[in-house]
């Protein structure tokens, strides 16, 4: 470890996760590419999201099943899964921070939430494209979309909050609490929007189970996305750590 005394001790890097990270990146790229090819060449065509009967969404009557747009699903869902897993890690690191008060967990939580935000944005983008084509509207208050919108807003608020507190330890404690609240809020939000029958919003049936081919394809892409997310997390972590080390060094030399 770092020699004792004045030398800055910081969130460690350079252990096994950093050795794994490049491999994870390669694996992620390979898996997502394989998943991409599978989605278009191998998985038999499935109907897209179908609506219970025919529904009026926006200005268009929607009832038909569309084939190609359904291919978005093979990336949409893995990305959504990844974002939620990143949020779980963020909340876990936040909890560890609150118990130990160690700055490194704060950094970890912050970067995990950055990854969460990134993947939520990806989920929204892919989801948007789907909604736009299948239902002809840019937005529909569908439970999943709504949940992700709310989650995205909380995560954005998390970063705004970080920006508006100056004192590092207080900032870390506040944002950890918000991250945990976000983590609790998301499932409740999904349940609430899901369980309450609404007379206005169409109930979108996407279930009926996935065929084994679909499941496999989603699993492959999900594994790939997780690898990519991990590699990104680690790269960001190293970069932030470097910046912190430089800051610490500057303080040591500054006077």
């Amino acid at each position: 470890m770092a020699p004792e005394g004045k030398s800055p001790r910081l969130p460690e890097a350079g252990q096994w996760p950093d050795r794994v990270a490049p491999a994870a990146l390669v694996a992620g790229i390979v898996l997502t590419t394989v998943g991409f090819l599978m989605a278009f060449l191998w998985v038999p065509p499935v109907g897209g999201a179908s609506v219970g009967g025919a529904e009026l969404i926006g200005d268009a009557m929607v009832s038909q099943k569309l084939l190609l747009s359904q291919k978005i699903f093979y990336f949409h869902m893995p990305v959504a899964i990844t974002s939620f897993i990143a949020l779980v890690f963020g909340a876990w690191y936040s909890l560890r921070f609150l118990r130990t008060r160690e700055a490194r967990y704060d950094t970890c939580a912050r970067i995990a939430l950055e990854i969460t935000l990134l993947f939520i944005a990806l989920t929204m983008i892919t989801g948007e494209m789907w909604t736009r084509f299948e239902w002809g509207v840019w937005w529909s208050w569908e439970p999943r979309l709504t949940t992700y919108l709310v989650l995205m807003l909380v995560v954005i608020a998390y970063f705004v909050l970080r920006g508006s507190v100056d004192e590092p330890e207080r900032r870390a404690a506040f944002s950890a609490v918000v991250a945990i609240i976000a983590f609790i809020d998301a499932p409740i939000c999904f349940m609430v929007t899901r369980l309450i029958p609404s007379s206005i919003h169409p109930v979108v049936l996407r279930e009926g189970g996935m065929s084994p081919e679909m499941g496999l394809c989603v699993a492959v892409v999900a594994a790939g996305m997780l690898c990519v997310a991990f590699a990104l997390y680690r790269a960001r972590f190293r970069q932030v750590r470097l910046a912190q080390r430089v800051e610490a060094l500057k303080e040591e030399l500054g006077d």
Binding site: L98, V154, V160, A173, V177, I181, I188, C189, V192
Partner: protein, 256 residues
């Protein structure tokens, strides 16, 4: 090793029983809770700052709704919207109140004074949440009938309308609980008003959704009432329990 620890402990318990002065006897948490709550209520009764500003704000929101709806045709459809409008009123008014409620504590560093006392942090949270709930309830008692007076000409609500008291109560409890935690956080940030709204609205979204559903069901009655009312209330109650517990546990980390 264990032996030494034991000795250490013995030595510590040898130390004078308590450094507490003869003058004091540790009060119960309930007593402290009562004292803190009375403090908030007394302060508010004296200045009426929060109640007046929240009340006037509620009235103004109603006026804005009046403008917004002035070209709508009265009819039964209005009942489906009115629940949502009522909750918009509650949310904006409570945002204003929550922002105010904590500025008292930070103004002179009073919160620190409270934290110096031998006082469980959970008690501080519960007392503050209770007083916020009380103020919110008072404002609702004034604003909801007012809302009815202004908009009852649009459509007559169903017979089950008085049941909106239940979602209003559940909603206010949740808003006061999570709102107290969030306003404590934002009280010491830059641009705290915006910050509170930014955190508060998405976090209470599920509660809001459930409460709007229950309120609409109660106002519209009929099939909707049977289908959605109980489920919505159960979900709102679940949210209240989870979030109150979480806030209560997390409060300690926020204040210290």
């Amino acid at each position: 090793m264990a032996e030494r620890e034991k000795q250490e402990r013995a030595r510590r318990s040898d130390a004078p029983a308590s450094p507490r002065s003869e003058l004091c006897a540790r009060p119960s948490a309930l007593e402290q809770y009562r004292v803190l709550l009375m403090k908030d209520l007394r302060q508010e009764l004296r200045t009426k700052e929060m109640l007046v500003s929240m009340g006037i704000y509620a009235l103004l929101v109603i006026v804005v709704f009046g403008v917004a709806l002035s070209f709508a045709r009265p009819g039964a459809d209005f009942l489906e919207v009115s629940g949502g409008l009522l909750w918009a009123l509650v949310v904006f008014t409570s945002l204003l109140g929550l922002n105010r409620s904590f500025s008292h504590e930070t103004e002179n560093g009073c919160l620190e004074g409270l934290l110096l006392a031998p006082l469980d942090r959970g008690v501080v949270f519960l007392a503050k949440a209770t007083s916020n709930l009380a103020f919110l309830a008072i404002v609702e008692v004034i604003a909801v009938p007012l809302y009815w007076v202004f908009f009852s000409s649009f459509a007559a609500p169903a017979a089950s309308a008085p049941l909106i008291v239940v979602p209003l109560l559940l909603g206010s409890v949740g808003i006061a609980g999570i709102g107290t935690l969030l306003s404590t956080i934002t009280a010491s940030t830059r641009g705290k008003d915006v910050m509170l709204a930014l955190l508060f609205v998405p976090v209470v979204f599920p509660l809001l959704y459930a409460c709007v559903s229950a309120t609409t069901a109660a106002l519209a009655g009929g099939v909707l009432m049977e289908e959605a009312f109980a489920t919505s209330l159960a979900l709102a109650a679940g949210y209240d329990v989870v979030m109150l517990l979480a806030s209560w546990v997390l409060y300690d980390f926020v204040v210290s």
